[in-house]
Subunit: 292 residues, 2 copies
Protein backbone atom coordinates (compact mmCIF):
# COMPACT_ATOMS: atom_id res chain seq x y z
CA UNK A 1 0.00 0.00 0.00
CA UNK A 2 2.84 2.36 0.81
CA UNK A 3 4.30 1.98 -2.64
CA UNK A 4 0.84 2.29 -4.22
CA UNK A 5 0.18 5.56 -2.43
CA UNK A 6 3.63 6.86 -3.25
CA UNK A 7 3.12 5.89 -6.86
CA UNK A 8 -0.21 7.63 -7.04
CA UNK A 9 1.42 10.66 -5.44
CA UNK A 10 4.15 10.55 -8.06
CA UNK A 11 1.56 10.10 -10.79
CA UNK A 12 -0.23 13.18 -9.64
CA UNK A 13 3.02 15.08 -9.57
CA UNK A 14 1.74 15.96 -6.14
CA UNK A 15 4.20 14.11 -3.92
CA UNK A 16 4.15 15.86 -0.57
CA UNK A 17 7.86 15.31 -0.18
CA UNK A 18 10.67 14.89 -2.73
CA UNK A 19 11.52 11.54 -1.20
CA UNK A 20 8.15 10.13 -2.24
CA UNK A 21 9.26 10.13 -5.87
CA UNK A 22 11.91 7.58 -5.09
CA UNK A 23 9.46 5.25 -3.41
CA UNK A 24 7.66 4.82 -6.68
CA UNK A 25 10.70 3.02 -8.05
CA UNK A 26 10.37 0.27 -5.49
CA UNK A 27 9.33 -3.25 -6.44
CA UNK A 28 5.93 -4.77 -5.88
CA UNK A 29 5.83 -7.78 -3.60
CA UNK A 30 2.93 -10.16 -4.23
CA UNK A 31 2.15 -13.36 -2.36
CA UNK A 32 1.23 -15.95 -4.96
CA UNK A 33 0.79 -19.69 -4.74
CA UNK A 34 2.75 -20.12 -1.47
CA UNK A 35 5.66 -18.18 -2.94
CA UNK A 36 6.47 -14.51 -3.18
CA UNK A 37 6.62 -12.73 -6.48
CA UNK A 38 8.70 -9.61 -7.02
CA UNK A 39 7.69 -7.31 -9.84
CA UNK A 40 9.25 -4.14 -11.14
CA UNK A 41 8.61 -1.89 -14.12
CA UNK A 42 11.10 0.68 -15.39
CA UNK A 43 10.83 2.99 -18.32
CA UNK A 44 13.66 4.54 -20.31
CA UNK A 45 13.13 7.42 -22.70
CA UNK A 46 15.28 8.87 -25.41
CA UNK A 47 16.63 12.22 -24.30
CA UNK A 48 16.11 11.38 -20.62
CA UNK A 49 17.81 8.04 -19.98
CA UNK A 50 19.66 7.59 -23.24
CA UNK A 51 20.71 9.56 -26.29
CA UNK A 52 19.77 8.97 -29.90
CA UNK A 53 23.36 8.25 -30.92
CA UNK A 54 23.91 5.57 -28.30
CA UNK A 55 24.29 2.00 -29.49
CA UNK A 56 20.82 0.39 -29.22
CA UNK A 57 22.53 -2.79 -28.00
CA UNK A 58 23.85 -0.84 -24.99
CA UNK A 59 20.41 0.68 -24.39
CA UNK A 60 18.86 -2.79 -24.36
CA UNK A 61 21.53 -4.00 -21.96
CA UNK A 62 20.97 -1.09 -19.61
CA UNK A 63 17.19 -1.46 -19.69
CA UNK A 64 17.52 -5.07 -18.59
CA UNK A 65 20.30 -4.40 -16.10
CA UNK A 66 18.40 -1.64 -14.29
CA UNK A 67 15.40 -3.92 -13.81
CA UNK A 68 17.61 -6.82 -12.73
CA UNK A 69 19.20 -4.45 -10.23
CA UNK A 70 15.77 -3.74 -8.74
CA UNK A 71 15.32 -7.48 -8.29
CA UNK A 72 18.83 -7.80 -6.82
CA UNK A 73 17.91 -5.30 -4.11
CA UNK A 74 15.06 -7.63 -3.10
CA UNK A 75 17.27 -10.70 -3.05
CA UNK A 76 15.10 -12.06 -5.85
CA UNK A 77 15.90 -14.69 -8.41
CA UNK A 78 14.87 -13.37 -11.84
CA UNK A 79 12.34 -15.36 -13.87
CA UNK A 80 11.63 -13.32 -16.95
CA UNK A 81 10.73 -10.00 -18.49
CA UNK A 82 8.08 -8.39 -20.64
CA UNK A 83 9.25 -5.70 -23.02
CA UNK A 84 7.40 -2.67 -24.31
CA UNK A 85 9.31 -1.58 -27.37
CA UNK A 86 8.81 1.27 -29.81
CA UNK A 87 9.91 0.09 -33.24
CA UNK A 88 11.72 2.29 -35.68
CA UNK A 89 15.29 2.59 -34.45
CA UNK A 90 17.99 0.04 -35.22
CA UNK A 91 15.76 -2.80 -34.06
CA UNK A 92 18.21 -5.54 -35.04
CA UNK A 93 20.95 -3.94 -32.97
CA UNK A 94 18.60 -3.52 -30.01
CA UNK A 95 17.67 -7.17 -30.30
CA UNK A 96 21.33 -8.20 -30.37
CA UNK A 97 22.01 -6.36 -27.12
CA UNK A 98 18.84 -7.66 -25.52
CA UNK A 99 19.65 -11.24 -26.46
CA UNK A 100 23.13 -10.89 -24.99
CA UNK A 101 21.84 -9.35 -21.77
CA UNK A 102 19.08 -11.96 -21.37
CA UNK A 103 21.69 -14.69 -21.71
CA UNK A 104 24.00 -12.96 -19.23
CA UNK A 105 21.27 -12.79 -16.59
CA UNK A 106 19.73 -16.11 -17.52
CA UNK A 107 16.23 -14.72 -17.92
CA UNK A 108 13.54 -15.36 -20.50
CA UNK A 109 11.78 -12.83 -22.69
CA UNK A 110 8.24 -13.85 -21.76
CA UNK A 111 6.42 -11.44 -24.03
CA UNK A 112 5.56 -7.83 -24.47
CA UNK A 113 4.30 -5.42 -27.02
CA UNK A 114 5.73 -3.42 -29.89
CA UNK A 115 4.38 -0.22 -31.37
CA UNK A 116 5.48 2.08 -34.13
CA UNK A 117 5.85 5.71 -33.12
CA UNK A 118 7.03 8.73 -35.02
CA UNK A 119 8.53 10.66 -32.11
CA UNK A 120 11.18 9.76 -29.58
CA UNK A 121 11.59 6.25 -28.30
CA UNK A 122 10.13 5.13 -24.99
CA UNK A 123 10.98 1.67 -23.69
CA UNK A 124 9.41 -0.19 -20.82
CA UNK A 125 10.48 -3.36 -19.14
CA UNK A 126 8.66 -5.40 -16.54
CA UNK A 127 10.80 -7.88 -14.65
CA UNK A 128 9.48 -10.76 -12.66
CA UNK A 129 11.37 -12.59 -9.94
CA UNK A 130 10.96 -15.03 -7.10
CA UNK A 131 11.78 -13.97 -3.55
CA UNK A 132 14.48 -16.12 -1.98
CA UNK A 133 14.16 -14.58 1.51
CA UNK A 134 11.11 -13.59 3.50
CA UNK A 135 10.40 -11.00 4.63
CA UNK A 136 11.59 -9.43 1.39
CA UNK A 137 14.16 -6.67 2.05
CA UNK A 138 12.77 -3.17 1.69
CA UNK A 139 14.21 0.30 1.96
CA UNK A 140 12.17 1.03 5.06
CA UNK A 141 13.60 -1.47 7.55
CA UNK A 142 16.75 0.28 8.82
CA UNK A 143 16.95 0.78 12.59
CA UNK A 144 18.93 3.32 14.60
CA UNK A 145 22.31 1.81 15.41
CA UNK A 146 22.45 -0.22 12.18
CA UNK A 147 25.57 0.10 10.07
CA UNK A 148 25.33 1.32 6.44
CA UNK A 149 27.21 -0.50 3.69
CA UNK A 150 27.79 -0.38 -0.05
CA UNK A 151 28.89 -3.31 -2.21
CA UNK A 152 31.48 -1.40 -4.23
CA UNK A 153 32.67 1.82 -5.75
CA UNK A 154 30.58 4.66 -7.12
CA UNK A 155 31.72 7.01 -9.87
CA UNK A 156 32.65 4.39 -12.46
CA UNK A 157 29.58 5.15 -14.58
CA UNK A 158 30.34 8.88 -14.40
CA UNK A 159 33.87 8.32 -15.69
CA UNK A 160 32.52 5.85 -18.26
CA UNK A 161 30.00 8.37 -19.59
CA UNK A 162 32.73 10.96 -19.95
CA UNK A 163 34.92 8.51 -21.85
CA UNK A 164 31.99 7.70 -24.12
CA UNK A 165 31.17 11.37 -24.69
CA UNK A 166 34.82 12.06 -25.48
CA UNK A 167 34.79 9.30 -28.09
CA UNK A 168 37.39 7.21 -26.24
CA UNK A 169 38.91 4.65 -28.61
CA UNK A 170 38.76 1.78 -26.13
CA UNK A 171 35.17 0.62 -25.53
CA UNK A 172 36.27 -0.76 -22.14
CA UNK A 173 36.71 2.82 -20.94
CA UNK A 174 32.95 3.41 -21.07
CA UNK A 175 31.68 -0.06 -20.26
CA UNK A 176 30.71 0.84 -16.67
CA UNK A 177 28.32 3.41 -18.10
CA UNK A 178 27.13 1.45 -21.12
CA UNK A 179 26.73 -2.00 -19.60
CA UNK A 180 26.10 -1.85 -15.87
CA UNK A 181 26.02 -5.10 -13.94
CA UNK A 182 23.16 -5.91 -11.62
CA UNK A 183 24.41 -7.58 -8.45
CA UNK A 184 21.94 -10.45 -8.30
CA UNK A 185 24.19 -12.96 -6.53
CA UNK A 186 25.23 -10.35 -3.96
CA UNK A 187 21.61 -9.37 -3.38
CA UNK A 188 20.57 -12.97 -2.74
CA UNK A 189 23.50 -13.51 -0.37
CA UNK A 190 22.71 -10.33 1.56
CA UNK A 191 18.92 -10.60 1.70
CA UNK A 192 18.68 -12.86 4.78
CA UNK A 193 20.82 -10.50 6.86
CA UNK A 194 20.00 -6.92 5.87
CA UNK A 195 17.53 -4.72 7.72
CA UNK A 196 17.09 -2.56 4.59
CA UNK A 197 18.44 -2.72 1.04
CA UNK A 198 18.12 -0.85 -2.26
CA UNK A 199 20.14 -0.37 -5.39
CA UNK A 200 21.93 2.90 -6.06
CA UNK A 201 20.59 4.16 -9.36
CA UNK A 202 20.23 7.90 -8.88
CA UNK A 203 23.27 8.72 -6.72
CA UNK A 204 24.50 7.30 -3.43
CA UNK A 205 23.52 10.31 -1.32
CA UNK A 206 20.09 10.69 -2.90
CA UNK A 207 19.28 7.00 -2.61
CA UNK A 208 20.62 6.89 0.95
CA UNK A 209 18.37 9.85 1.76
CA UNK A 210 15.40 7.92 0.34
CA UNK A 211 16.24 4.90 2.46
CA UNK A 212 16.59 7.17 5.50
CA UNK A 213 13.19 8.79 4.82
CA UNK A 214 11.55 5.42 4.29
CA UNK A 215 13.04 4.12 7.54
CA UNK A 216 12.31 7.30 9.50
CA UNK A 217 15.89 8.02 10.52
CA UNK A 218 19.15 9.59 9.36
CA UNK A 219 22.35 8.12 7.96
CA UNK A 220 25.58 9.60 9.24
CA UNK A 221 27.95 8.93 6.35
CA UNK A 222 31.70 9.37 6.38
CA UNK A 223 32.48 10.40 2.82
CA UNK A 224 36.10 9.20 2.98
CA UNK A 225 34.84 5.66 3.64
CA UNK A 226 32.91 5.48 0.37
CA UNK A 227 34.92 3.64 -2.27
CA UNK A 228 35.02 5.65 -5.49
CA UNK A 229 36.14 4.76 -8.97
CA UNK A 230 37.14 8.29 -9.92
CA UNK A 231 39.91 10.79 -9.13
CA UNK A 232 39.88 11.87 -5.50
CA UNK A 233 39.11 15.48 -6.44
CA UNK A 234 35.81 14.26 -7.87
CA UNK A 235 34.67 12.41 -4.74
CA UNK A 236 31.76 14.82 -4.13
CA UNK A 237 30.45 14.21 -7.66
CA UNK A 238 30.92 10.46 -7.46
CA UNK A 239 28.77 10.37 -4.32
CA UNK A 240 25.97 12.08 -6.27
CA UNK A 241 26.21 10.19 -9.55
CA UNK A 242 23.92 7.32 -10.36
CA UNK A 243 24.08 4.41 -12.75
CA UNK A 244 26.57 2.31 -10.81
CA UNK A 245 23.91 -0.06 -9.44
CA UNK A 246 25.78 -0.94 -6.29
CA UNK A 247 23.67 -2.28 -3.44
CA UNK A 248 23.21 -0.05 -0.41
CA UNK A 249 22.17 -1.89 2.74
CA UNK A 250 22.02 -1.79 6.50
CA UNK A 251 23.03 -4.47 8.99
CA UNK A 252 22.55 -4.75 12.73
CA UNK A 253 25.63 -3.36 14.51
CA UNK A 254 28.43 -5.90 14.74
CA UNK A 255 27.24 -8.05 11.85
CA UNK A 256 29.63 -8.44 8.91
CA UNK A 257 28.17 -8.87 5.41
CA UNK A 258 28.62 -12.21 3.60
CA UNK A 259 29.91 -10.44 0.46
CA UNK A 260 32.62 -7.84 -0.14
CA UNK A 261 31.32 -4.44 0.94
CA UNK A 262 32.44 -1.20 2.57
CA UNK A 263 30.99 0.23 5.77
CA UNK A 264 30.24 3.88 5.03
CA UNK A 265 28.09 5.07 7.93
CA UNK A 266 25.61 4.41 10.67
CA UNK A 267 21.88 4.95 11.16
CA UNK A 268 20.93 7.45 13.86
CA UNK A 269 17.56 8.38 15.27
CA UNK A 270 17.94 12.05 14.28
CA UNK A 271 15.24 12.96 11.76
CA UNK A 272 15.69 16.64 10.95
CA UNK A 273 17.75 15.70 7.87
CA UNK A 274 18.01 12.30 6.18
CA UNK A 275 21.78 12.56 5.70
CA UNK A 276 24.63 13.77 7.87
CA UNK A 277 27.65 13.86 5.55
CA UNK A 278 30.83 14.28 7.59
CA UNK A 279 28.61 15.96 10.17
CA UNK A 280 26.79 18.26 7.74
CA UNK A 281 23.00 17.81 7.50
CA UNK A 282 21.81 17.37 3.91
CA UNK A 283 18.42 16.75 2.38
CA UNK A 284 17.07 16.00 -1.09
CA UNK A 285 16.90 19.67 -2.06
CA UNK A 286 20.68 19.95 -1.62
CA UNK A 287 21.44 18.25 -4.94
CA UNK A 288 22.17 14.75 -3.69
CA UNK A 289 21.77 12.98 -7.00
CA UNK A 290 19.91 12.62 -10.24
CA UNK A 291 16.23 13.59 -9.99
CA UNK A 292 14.18 12.54 -13.02
CA UNK B 1 8.70 -20.45 -26.61
CA UNK B 2 6.30 -19.90 -29.47
CA UNK B 3 5.31 -16.53 -28.17
CA UNK B 4 8.92 -15.62 -27.45
CA UNK B 5 9.97 -16.45 -31.00
CA UNK B 6 7.01 -14.61 -32.43
CA UNK B 7 7.82 -11.66 -30.27
CA UNK B 8 11.41 -11.60 -31.37
CA UNK B 9 10.22 -11.87 -34.96
CA UNK B 10 7.93 -8.91 -34.37
CA UNK B 11 10.76 -7.03 -32.70
CA UNK B 12 12.93 -7.55 -35.68
CA UNK B 13 10.16 -6.39 -37.97
CA UNK B 14 11.09 -9.60 -39.71
CA UNK B 15 8.01 -11.70 -39.07
CA UNK B 16 7.91 -14.33 -41.77
CA UNK B 17 4.16 -14.10 -41.90
CA UNK B 18 1.77 -11.27 -41.10
CA UNK B 19 0.03 -13.50 -38.57
CA UNK B 20 3.16 -13.66 -36.43
CA UNK B 21 2.62 -10.05 -35.40
CA UNK B 22 -0.57 -11.00 -33.66
CA UNK B 23 1.05 -13.76 -31.66
CA UNK B 24 3.19 -11.21 -29.90
CA UNK B 25 0.07 -9.86 -28.24
CA UNK B 26 -0.53 -13.12 -26.46
CA UNK B 27 -0.08 -13.49 -22.71
CA UNK B 28 2.82 -15.14 -20.98
CA UNK B 29 1.96 -18.18 -18.90
CA UNK B 30 4.38 -18.88 -16.05
CA UNK B 31 4.20 -21.74 -13.56
CA UNK B 32 4.96 -20.25 -10.16
CA UNK B 33 4.65 -21.80 -6.72
CA UNK B 34 2.06 -24.47 -7.62
CA UNK B 35 -0.10 -21.89 -9.37
CA UNK B 36 -0.08 -20.42 -12.83
CA UNK B 37 0.62 -16.79 -13.42
CA UNK B 38 -0.68 -14.95 -16.48
CA UNK B 39 1.16 -11.83 -17.57
CA UNK B 40 0.48 -9.37 -20.32
CA UNK B 41 1.98 -6.06 -21.35
CA UNK B 42 0.29 -3.62 -23.69
CA UNK B 43 1.44 -0.25 -24.88
CA UNK B 44 -0.69 2.63 -26.06
CA UNK B 45 0.75 5.62 -27.89
CA UNK B 46 -0.63 9.02 -28.68
CA UNK B 47 -1.40 9.25 -32.36
CA UNK B 48 -1.62 5.46 -32.71
CA UNK B 49 -4.04 4.22 -30.05
CA UNK B 50 -5.45 7.49 -28.83
CA UNK B 51 -5.61 11.13 -29.84
CA UNK B 52 -4.28 14.12 -27.96
CA UNK B 53 -7.76 15.59 -27.50
CA UNK B 54 -9.21 12.46 -25.94
CA UNK B 55 -10.16 12.60 -22.28
CA UNK B 56 -7.18 11.17 -20.33
CA UNK B 57 -9.66 9.44 -18.04
CA UNK B 58 -10.96 7.47 -21.03
CA UNK B 59 -7.41 6.66 -22.12
CA UNK B 60 -6.62 5.30 -18.66
CA UNK B 61 -9.81 3.24 -18.72
CA UNK B 62 -9.01 1.79 -22.13
CA UNK B 63 -5.42 0.99 -21.19
CA UNK B 64 -6.63 -1.02 -18.23
CA UNK B 65 -9.54 -2.61 -20.10
CA UNK B 66 -7.39 -3.85 -22.98
CA UNK B 67 -5.04 -5.59 -20.56
CA UNK B 68 -7.93 -7.00 -18.54
CA UNK B 69 -9.34 -8.31 -21.80
CA UNK B 70 -6.08 -10.18 -22.45
CA UNK B 71 -6.48 -11.80 -19.02
CA UNK B 72 -10.15 -12.56 -19.74
CA UNK B 73 -9.15 -14.55 -22.81
CA UNK B 74 -7.01 -16.75 -20.55
CA UNK B 75 -9.79 -17.25 -18.03
CA UNK B 76 -7.56 -15.48 -15.53
CA UNK B 77 -8.51 -13.70 -12.35
CA UNK B 78 -6.73 -10.32 -12.30
CA UNK B 79 -4.40 -9.52 -9.40
CA UNK B 80 -2.84 -6.19 -10.19
CA UNK B 81 -1.07 -3.95 -12.66
CA UNK B 82 2.14 -2.01 -13.07
CA UNK B 83 1.89 1.24 -14.99
CA UNK B 84 4.50 2.97 -17.11
CA UNK B 85 3.30 6.53 -17.41
CA UNK B 86 4.72 9.55 -19.19
CA UNK B 87 3.91 12.63 -17.13
CA UNK B 88 2.96 15.94 -18.65
CA UNK B 89 -0.62 15.60 -19.87
CA UNK B 90 -3.63 16.11 -17.63
CA UNK B 91 -2.22 13.71 -15.04
CA UNK B 92 -5.01 14.32 -12.51
CA UNK B 93 -7.64 13.43 -15.10
CA UNK B 94 -5.71 10.31 -16.10
CA UNK B 95 -5.51 9.29 -12.48
CA UNK B 96 -9.25 9.81 -12.02
CA UNK B 97 -10.00 7.44 -14.91
CA UNK B 98 -7.43 4.93 -13.76
CA UNK B 99 -8.82 4.92 -10.22
CA UNK B 100 -12.32 4.37 -11.55
CA UNK B 101 -11.21 1.54 -13.84
CA UNK B 102 -9.13 -0.16 -11.14
CA UNK B 103 -12.17 -0.11 -8.84
CA UNK B 104 -14.42 -1.45 -11.62
CA UNK B 105 -12.12 -4.42 -12.24
CA UNK B 106 -11.16 -4.84 -8.58
CA UNK B 107 -7.43 -4.77 -9.25
CA UNK B 108 -4.58 -3.09 -7.41
CA UNK B 109 -2.03 -0.67 -8.80
CA UNK B 110 1.06 -2.54 -7.63
CA UNK B 111 3.64 -0.08 -8.87
CA UNK B 112 5.27 1.21 -11.98
CA UNK B 113 7.34 4.06 -13.19
CA UNK B 114 6.77 7.62 -14.34
CA UNK B 115 8.94 9.67 -16.63
CA UNK B 116 8.74 13.16 -18.04
CA UNK B 117 8.97 13.36 -21.81
CA UNK B 118 8.73 16.26 -24.18
CA UNK B 119 7.25 14.42 -27.16
CA UNK B 120 4.12 12.35 -27.54
CA UNK B 121 2.82 10.18 -24.74
CA UNK B 122 3.51 6.46 -24.57
CA UNK B 123 1.81 4.41 -21.91
CA UNK B 124 2.54 0.86 -20.87
CA UNK B 125 0.60 -1.44 -18.63
CA UNK B 126 1.58 -4.83 -17.30
CA UNK B 127 -1.27 -6.89 -15.90
CA UNK B 128 -0.86 -9.88 -13.68
CA UNK B 129 -3.45 -12.57 -13.14
CA UNK B 130 -4.00 -16.01 -11.73
CA UNK B 131 -5.07 -18.84 -14.01
CA UNK B 132 -8.34 -20.42 -12.93
CA UNK B 133 -8.22 -23.28 -15.45
CA UNK B 134 -5.35 -25.46 -16.59
CA UNK B 135 -4.30 -25.91 -19.26
CA UNK B 136 -4.68 -22.17 -19.83
CA UNK B 137 -6.68 -21.45 -23.00
CA UNK B 138 -4.57 -20.35 -25.93
CA UNK B 139 -5.30 -19.29 -29.48
CA UNK B 140 -3.63 -22.37 -30.87
CA UNK B 141 -5.87 -25.14 -29.56
CA UNK B 142 -8.74 -25.18 -32.08
CA UNK B 143 -9.39 -28.53 -33.81
CA UNK B 144 -11.06 -29.24 -37.13
CA UNK B 145 -14.75 -29.75 -36.48
CA UNK B 146 -14.86 -27.31 -33.56
CA UNK B 147 -17.50 -24.63 -33.63
CA UNK B 148 -16.51 -20.94 -33.54
CA UNK B 149 -18.31 -18.51 -31.23
CA UNK B 150 -18.31 -14.89 -30.20
CA UNK B 151 -19.66 -13.49 -26.91
CA UNK B 152 -21.46 -10.51 -28.42
CA UNK B 153 -21.74 -7.91 -31.11
CA UNK B 154 -18.94 -6.23 -33.00
CA UNK B 155 -19.14 -2.73 -34.46
CA UNK B 156 -20.21 -0.91 -31.31
CA UNK B 157 -16.78 0.69 -30.86
CA UNK B 158 -16.79 1.77 -34.52
CA UNK B 159 -20.14 3.53 -34.09
CA UNK B 160 -18.95 4.91 -30.76
CA UNK B 161 -15.82 6.40 -32.30
CA UNK B 162 -17.87 8.05 -35.01
CA UNK B 163 -20.21 9.55 -32.41
CA UNK B 164 -17.22 10.84 -30.47
CA UNK B 165 -15.60 12.29 -33.59
CA UNK B 166 -18.88 13.95 -34.52
CA UNK B 167 -19.02 15.57 -31.08
CA UNK B 168 -22.24 13.77 -30.13
CA UNK B 169 -23.90 15.53 -27.19
CA UNK B 170 -24.70 12.32 -25.31
CA UNK B 171 -21.53 10.68 -23.89
CA UNK B 172 -23.38 7.34 -23.86
CA UNK B 173 -23.25 7.36 -27.67
CA UNK B 174 -19.48 6.90 -27.63
CA UNK B 175 -19.07 4.87 -24.46
CA UNK B 176 -18.46 1.59 -26.32
CA UNK B 177 -15.41 3.19 -27.90
CA UNK B 178 -14.23 5.19 -24.90
CA UNK B 179 -14.79 2.68 -22.14
CA UNK B 180 -14.68 -0.88 -23.41
CA UNK B 181 -15.54 -3.67 -21.00
CA UNK B 182 -13.26 -6.64 -20.56
CA UNK B 183 -15.28 -9.84 -20.23
CA UNK B 184 -13.49 -11.33 -17.24
CA UNK B 185 -16.42 -13.28 -15.81
CA UNK B 186 -17.29 -14.69 -19.25
CA UNK B 187 -13.65 -15.67 -19.81
CA UNK B 188 -13.49 -17.54 -16.52
CA UNK B 189 -16.78 -19.32 -17.21
CA UNK B 190 -15.66 -20.34 -20.69
CA UNK B 191 -12.05 -21.32 -19.93
CA UNK B 192 -12.71 -24.91 -18.78
CA UNK B 193 -14.63 -25.73 -22.00
CA UNK B 194 -12.95 -23.91 -24.88
CA UNK B 195 -10.37 -25.47 -27.17
CA UNK B 196 -9.05 -22.00 -28.10
CA UNK B 197 -9.88 -18.48 -26.99
CA UNK B 198 -8.73 -14.91 -27.60
CA UNK B 199 -10.12 -11.43 -27.32
CA UNK B 200 -11.09 -9.48 -30.41
CA UNK B 201 -9.06 -6.30 -30.33
CA UNK B 202 -8.01 -5.72 -33.93
CA UNK B 203 -11.10 -6.88 -35.83
CA UNK B 204 -13.06 -10.11 -35.78
CA UNK B 205 -11.81 -11.40 -39.12
CA UNK B 206 -8.17 -10.50 -38.47
CA UNK B 207 -8.18 -12.02 -34.99
CA UNK B 208 -10.01 -15.11 -36.25
CA UNK B 209 -7.35 -15.45 -38.95
CA UNK B 210 -4.66 -15.29 -36.25
CA UNK B 211 -6.40 -17.99 -34.25
CA UNK B 212 -6.70 -20.09 -37.41
CA UNK B 213 -2.99 -19.68 -38.19
CA UNK B 214 -2.01 -20.48 -34.62
CA UNK B 215 -4.19 -23.60 -34.69
CA UNK B 216 -3.11 -24.63 -38.21
CA UNK B 217 -6.57 -24.65 -39.72
CA UNK B 218 -9.24 -22.46 -41.30
CA UNK B 219 -12.43 -20.93 -39.95
CA UNK B 220 -15.45 -21.03 -42.23
CA UNK B 221 -17.49 -18.06 -41.03
CA UNK B 222 -21.01 -17.20 -41.98
CA UNK B 223 -21.05 -13.41 -41.90
CA UNK B 224 -24.81 -13.19 -41.36
CA UNK B 225 -24.43 -15.11 -38.09
CA UNK B 226 -22.12 -12.50 -36.58
CA UNK B 227 -24.06 -10.16 -34.28
CA UNK B 228 -23.28 -6.55 -35.11
CA UNK B 229 -24.03 -3.34 -33.32
CA UNK B 230 -24.14 -1.21 -36.47
CA UNK B 231 -26.44 -0.64 -39.45
CA UNK B 232 -26.74 -3.73 -41.66
CA UNK B 233 -25.08 -1.92 -44.59
CA UNK B 234 -21.95 -1.62 -42.49
CA UNK B 235 -21.67 -5.31 -41.63
CA UNK B 236 -18.45 -5.78 -43.63
CA UNK B 237 -16.79 -2.93 -41.74
CA UNK B 238 -18.04 -4.12 -38.35
CA UNK B 239 -16.44 -7.51 -38.98
CA UNK B 240 -13.11 -5.76 -39.52
CA UNK B 241 -13.25 -3.20 -36.74
CA UNK B 242 -11.46 -3.74 -33.45
CA UNK B 243 -11.87 -2.34 -29.96
CA UNK B 244 -14.99 -4.28 -29.00
CA UNK B 245 -13.11 -6.80 -26.83
CA UNK B 246 -15.55 -9.62 -27.33
CA UNK B 247 -14.20 -13.11 -26.70
CA UNK B 248 -13.74 -15.37 -29.70
CA UNK B 249 -13.58 -19.06 -28.88
CA UNK B 250 -13.95 -22.57 -30.17
CA UNK B 251 -15.82 -25.47 -28.64
CA UNK B 252 -15.94 -29.15 -29.53
CA UNK B 253 -18.89 -29.78 -31.86
CA UNK B 254 -22.16 -30.19 -29.99
CA UNK B 255 -21.05 -28.36 -26.84
CA UNK B 256 -23.02 -25.26 -25.88
CA UNK B 257 -21.19 -22.39 -24.13
CA UNK B 258 -22.04 -21.60 -20.49
CA UNK B 259 -22.47 -17.88 -21.29
CA UNK B 260 -24.48 -16.02 -23.93
CA UNK B 261 -22.68 -16.29 -27.27
CA UNK B 262 -23.34 -16.63 -30.99
CA UNK B 263 -22.12 -19.48 -33.15
CA UNK B 264 -20.53 -17.87 -36.22
CA UNK B 265 -18.63 -20.65 -37.93
CA UNK B 266 -16.75 -23.90 -37.86
CA UNK B 267 -13.10 -24.96 -37.97
CA UNK B 268 -12.06 -26.92 -41.04
CA UNK B 269 -8.79 -28.65 -41.88
CA UNK B 270 -8.30 -26.57 -45.03
CA UNK B 271 -5.15 -24.47 -44.66
CA UNK B 272 -4.70 -22.55 -47.90
CA UNK B 273 -6.43 -19.54 -46.31
CA UNK B 274 -7.14 -18.92 -42.64
CA UNK B 275 -10.66 -17.62 -43.26
CA UNK B 276 -13.51 -18.70 -45.52
CA UNK B 277 -16.06 -15.91 -45.29
CA UNK B 278 -19.36 -17.04 -46.81
CA UNK B 279 -17.23 -19.41 -48.90
CA UNK B 280 -14.66 -16.84 -50.01
CA UNK B 281 -11.05 -17.51 -48.95
CA UNK B 282 -9.46 -14.53 -47.19
CA UNK B 283 -6.10 -13.96 -45.60
CA UNK B 284 -4.45 -11.21 -43.56
CA UNK B 285 -3.40 -9.24 -46.62
CA UNK B 286 -7.06 -8.82 -47.61
CA UNK B 287 -7.64 -6.08 -45.04
CA UNK B 288 -9.27 -8.13 -42.30
CA UNK B 289 -8.74 -5.64 -39.50
CA UNK B 290 -6.54 -3.09 -37.84
CA UNK B 291 -2.82 -3.79 -38.29
CA UNK B 292 -0.60 -1.72 -36.03
Amino acid sequence: VTSELAFIAALRGMATHPAARGLADDCAVVEFGAETLILTHDMMAEGVHFLRDQDPADIAWKLLATNMSDLAAKGAEPIGVLLGYTLGGDDARFLAGLTEALAHYGVALLGGDTISVTGSQTLGLTALGRATTRPVPSRSGAKAGDTLWITGAVGAAMIGLEAWQAGHADPAASVAYRRPRALLAEGRALAPYVTAMMDVSDGLLLDAARMARASGLCFAINSADVPIHAPENRRAEALRWGDDYQLLFTLPAGLEPPVAASKIGVAIAETTAPILLDGEPLSETDGLGYEH
